[in-house]
């Protein structure tokens, strides 16, 4: 199980680096200021480059995967979401894909029974796990906005309030923290337990899961176990977003572990499959309307090509055609 342990070891090592460096080598400035700036720069520039790199390549053909009834005769009901005929419809299709993972909702599990007989069972686990994972990450990300504003926007407060309404612990426990851990565990476990998933999984599939797991654990550790100085963190983060290079004050090593792993994630992001975050908006099977017989789709590299013309065809078969009583152009 090299492909599971290697990435796990990598993440553990990555977590140890800032811990040792800050605790024993007094390198808080490097890990609190320089690396986060570098990571943010690589993330933003890399992300933009990757999107641009995709966008500059043409979409020569409208290759929509239609998952519902086309626009056809008036009395046939079109499926506007799964086979949209307008740009708006296609945008809705992508949006519901992004927000609700609609295609994963279709997921089934095939089983081979005696007969032999194939049986397909509805399988919503991946859909649920994926949705829980991505939505909690989004909410957790938004919650962090309070470190970047003196007075966080009202909706951020509302999200935070809703997320902690159970008030199980002090400080109030965030549900998303638990959800994301459960989802992560599920996503890792299925890659190990399901034979199909184990075969298809690469180290690059485990690494980001472990990395995000490390980030979550370090973050939760700071909040629920080994309390760190929130005010210093807020001062550092607000300094960073206002392009200040001031050294961080005494915070606590766990924070640097958290921040360093986030920095690693940011650096890794543009060069990895995590770019599916941007790709999902660009996928030509989903983001184009199914109107290719109605509106002309242009291919920028399409050139008039040579083909065998009717005249050449008639030249070869003229006598045979005449004998068969077929009309010809030239006698």
């Amino acid at each position: 199980m090299k492909k599971v342990f290697m990435p796990l070891i990598m993440v553990v090592l990555l977590a140890l680096i800032p811990y040792v460096a800050v605790t024993y080598l007094n390198m808080a400035y490097l890990f609190g200021v320089i690396i986060p700036y570098a990571a943010a720069f690589i993330f933003i520039a890399g992300f933009i480059w990757r999107i641009f790199d995709w966008l500059r390549r043409p979409v020569p053909f409208p290759i929509v995967t239609t998952c519902g009834q086309e626009k056809s005769l008036d009395w046939i009901k079109q499926n506007h979401l799964e086979s949209p005929s307008t740009r708006f419809g296609a945008a809705m299709r992508v949006l519901t894909e992004v927000l609700f993972f609609r295609s994963l909702f279709r997921n089934t599990k095939a089983e081979l029974h005696t007969g032999p007989e194939l049986v397909y069972a509805s399988s919503k686990w991946l859909w649920m796990g994926g949705l829980a994972f991505h939505w909690s990450l989004l909410i957790i990300g938004l919650r962090h906005a309070r470190f970047f504003f003196i007075e966080p926007p009202a909706f951020i407060n509302a999200i935070e309030h809703a997320d902690s309404f159970l008030e199980l612990t002090l400080p109030a426990f965030f549900m998303t923290d638990a959800i994301v851990l459960v989802a992560l565990t599920f996503l890792v476990a299925r890659r190990i337990r399901d034979a199909k998933l184990r075969i298809i999984s690469l180290q690059t599939d485990f690494f980001p899961l472990f990395l995000i797991g490390g980030i979550v654990l370090a973050g939760m550790g700071m909040r629920y176990l080994e309390r760190v100085d929130i005010l210093s963190i807020k001062a550092l983060m607000m300094g960073l977003v206002s392009f200040s290079f001031e050294a961080p004050s005494e915070i606590g090593a766990l924070f640097f572990v958290h921040l360093f792993l986030v920095s690693m994630l940011a650096i890794y992001f543009p060069f990895s499959k995590l770019m599916h975050m941007g790709a999902i908006f660009l996928s030509p099977t989903r983001n184009l309307p199914n109107n290719s017989r109605e509106k002309l789709h242009r291919n920028p590299w399409n050139k008039p090509g040579k083909f065998r013309t009717y005249a050449e065809y008639e030249d070869e078969f003229r006598e045979k055609m005449k004998k068969a009583g077929l009309p010809v152009e030239k006698d």
Binding site: M6, L55, R57, V59, P60, P62, V64, T65, C67, Q69, K71, S72, L73, I76, E97, S103, L104, R106, N107, T108, A110, L112, T114, L118, Y120, L126, G130, R190, D194, A195, K196, L197, I199, I200, S201, F271, M275, H276, I280, L282, S283, P284, T285, S292, R293, E294, L296, H297, R298, N299, G305, F307, Y310, Y313, E314, K320, M321, A324, G325, L326
Partner: protein
Amino acid sequence: MSKYAPRKAQLAREFLEKPTPLKGAQADREWWEMPVDFHDGNWCFPGKPDTLKAIGFPNPRKWAATDEDWQLPDGWEKIIHDGLKERLKKFRSLKLYLDSCVRCGACADKCHFFLGSGDPKNMPVIRAELLRSVYRNDFPMVKKILKGFSGSRKLTKEVIKEWHSYFYQCTECRRCSVFCPLGIDTAEITMVARELLNLIGVNNNWILAPVANCNRTGNHLGIEPHTFVQNIMSLVDDIEELTGITVNPTFNRKGAEILFITPSGDVFGDPGVYTMMGYLLLFHHIGLDYTISTYASEGGNFGLFTTNDMMKKLNAKMYHEAERLKVKWILGGECGHMWRVVHQYMSTMNGPADFLEEPVSPITGTKFTNATSTKMVHIAEFTADLIKHGKLKLDPSRNDHLRTTFHDSCNVSRGMGMLEEPRFVLNSVCNSFNEMPENTIREKTFCCGSGSGINAEEFMEMRMRGGFPRANAVRTVKKQHQVNALITICAIDRATLPPLMRYWNPGVAVYGLHELVGNALVMEGETPRTEDLRENPMAIAEEREDGDA
């Protein structure tokens, strides 16, 4: 049965006994450590040297997949690398789909070849990884540092063999792309991989021979114009014998209102010819002003399974002929991949067809607003409109000897979205229509297992495996509803499903939709019908006889 397929009992036993990832086994090995295997029944004969020369394709030679040395041309690695680079520039889909797969596994058990073979490399995600692993090794920036980490590998002769095997165990049916949360389309990967393989002369005769034929004679079977006409005229005779009606198709006639193009399989192949008889009866019934071309006598386009350029070249004949004959618009027959090309590629490649008019049904006046640009209408759309307007005199009980189910062909359902039109027509022309299980129809339909140019006799084992999920779904309705007729709107299906049914579900015959239309049409002045277009007795005839006795 074919010598290229194991006996059914043997295959069925293997399904249950062989450990595969589908049954939770084989998880201890990496896919790239599993060797490629060529044996009788799992590889298609390569293109013949003459065929390659006729279409100007590289590296003509005699070889076989089972050879140790495939006689690749000098510098084949560079040809592949450069070819891939060029295509990455031309297709956003390719780059995007190579870059963004998260290997979530949603596609894994959606492929009919995986379900029928249990071979892990037939999981769509790994099929794409076959190319992706090479792409990663050569292209992205972090390559050397993270080798092994990102699953990259070198391009070797073994990899070429693997590509040849598995990119011809993909029928470009796009079922996986329905389930993919990112919409990754394995067909896009397969198409490019096949283009690359063609660059070094690694190819498939069952695809290239039709391509060469189609280029020269206008159709896949290489039928010359006089024979083409003769064959349709013999169908005209058959129709007269059965119904007493003389239909009058015309050929290459200038000034006809509509040019009708259908796959040549409908003109020559059994049971496609019965579908052709259905078209001829229908057109006669409504007095359609149409003509058939011997030059553009092929609806299908095996260029789609070869290279983009070849697809464009073969397709160009349709508009070229429509312009020459000065027709108003084009009506297309029942076919799967033909409609993928017509619906998603034709006007982009060879249009705009400004010399044609926006299609209007001359019988009902209905404007086909969904085809205003391409100016080509699908026969199921056309017939559904006729039936809705009450323009056809139909007696569905003439199909009472058939208990039907409907097979959505991949391209028409997932590359066009035509789901309801054929069902409406079918329900209007027969009394017993039974849907197969929900997960096997419409956009989730299973491929016949032999699409995209792998319908070769010597590939029979893989075809019977790949077709197994489809056959299994038919078996369900055969058991539940005594279905004996599998209706399709695809000429490839009509060629591939009969052997599949004989193998897995004896007793189920394969029909084209318009064959049933032809059975049900009550023609003016016809002699009393007692037999369907296949000269099988209709149920009404039997009842009548029972009544007499």
